[in-house]
Symmetry: C2
Subunit: 277 residues, 2 copies
């Protein structure tokens, strides 16, 4: 069997379902990952943005200096396939017992291929319903921004969604609005875009950085009152794209046809999808 849960997994130049039990991703969450949407040709239009965050993570976690070359080679050697979703997992491999490692241990890679859902705006044409999550994100500047494998906070947060939520908004332990469980977050205040600072917690998403380069965007500390007062709220991730938020608990935003939120969603999602042409 080389397929598991509708996912094909490419490891060490073969399709295989298994992975060393002693691998440090398994033992300690000592790894990084990226989840990418592929176009019809199998290319990743936002790869350079994924690569930027991955490099940041590789440096922060002291992975070998040539890790990115290994990753690029593995991606280039991936056989032709019909899938449009790819998760790349980078681990430090299996070493001796304990937390210690040598910084020259070669990385170990998983490339997972799967069929992603439709873009978020197609599934939720009037935006997503959300609420404030009971789980607060810890402040850890050494890991903030990075897409690492220590995801228990997200696992716990996901289990606390109300049944009608499609996403949820996470504050950090100091009460700063930070991100969604699987997404980044944006406020539109008049004509000004604002997104939470991610220096203490959160993942610095691909769409977040892409959008910041295409429209003026302020990074600020945002409290709950300010979230409620925004003219429109949006979320993004690399699989769903760019979607409006219709509600945060009792608070509702105008996402009707012709609203600012609808116009903005259409504008930016269209820009984004042009990359997938």
């Amino acid at each position: 069997m080389t397929e598991h849960n509708n996912t094909w997994i490419w490891i060490d130049g073969q399709w295989q379902t298994h992975w060393p039990s002693l691998d440090r991703a398994t033992q300690y969450g000592d790894g990084l990952y990226e989840t990418c949407r592929l176009n019809q040709q199998g290319d990743m239009p936002l790869w350079s943005w994924h690569q930027q965050r991955l490099l940041h993570g590789l440096v922060a976690l002291d992975f070998p200096i040539d890790s990115m070359q290994h990753i690029e080679h593995a991606l280039a050697a991936l056989p032709k396939h019909p899938y449009r979703g790819l998760k790349l997992l980078v681990s430090r491999g299996a070493g001796e017992r304990g937390y210690g490692y040598q910084s020259d241990w070669p990385i170990h890679l998983q490339l997972q291929l799967f069929q992603p859902p439709a873009w978020g705006h197609e599934r939720y044409p009037f935006g997503v319903d959300t609420g404030i999550n009971d789980v607060r994100l810890a402040q850890q500047p050494l890991l903030a921004g990075i897409k690492h494998n220590n995801r228990l906070e997200q696992v716990m947060a996901r289990a606390r969604f109300a049944p009608h939520w499609q996403e949820s908004i996470l504050l950090d332990t100091q009460g700063n609005v930070t991100e969604g469980c699987m997404s980044n977050l944006y406020l539109l205040e008049g004509e000004q875009w604002v997104t939470p600072m991610l220096d203490q917690a959160g993942v610095n998403g691909v769409i977040r950085r892409w959008l910041s380069q295409h429209t003026p965007m302020r990074e600020e500390r945002i409290d709950l009152a300010r979230l409620h007062q925004a003219d429109a709220v949006f979320m993004s991730n690399a699989l769903n794209g760019f979607v409006m938020v219709r509600s945060v608990d009792q608070m509702r935003y105008d996402t009707s046809i012709g609203s600012v939120a609808q116009r903005m969603q259409q504008h930016w999602q269209t820009q984004l999808q042009e990359l997938w042409q």
Copy 2:
């Protein structure tokens, strides 16, 4: 091959080196573990203390209600072997994509067998040299105390040891002295034992709870100045046992023969080892 890195791994009733790639411990660090010392008969004298923390973790992470029964059955079915170290890893298994899970998914277990090092006091008869680590522990009350698989802070901290350190002392992001990288921490102030509160960060160790039941122990917030002023400092973990701290950076404690530290180490380590008879 059924042995890897001098470790035998028992999974699903067989010795095997591999594990599902999509397992949630591998993807998200969504798991728990315990590392235990076995006696000559293969029993774990402190098992009930391991079990207590494991139960706490299983509940906190919303694992199935019958998980502990599965764990006990797997331990009972483990073949006879000559090893004195066991690491038990509990994962939620491999589910669908994403952070979501069903709370009735059966757990997946790894039982690793290995040869542990000698007790710490035998390897470091005059105590361990340590220093304050550059890595600060994030405050996350939802995960504090539990031995979960999100260990990037410890991995980063371990890489920052000075060459002559055998252990290192971690503060949290608010400056509270919390624990060692692999150990719990104790201060002796006159005749009073004090150990850091672990409600915000840290792992509530087996020896820590055992010791607290055998001698009066205060749990308090401890700052660096207080650590420096202690009459003696000790560390413990389930493999090393109970050891004196000889130095914290420039600060040195009296660990000479006949010192209070030596007498206390001998007293408590002897008590502990009687359990392994």
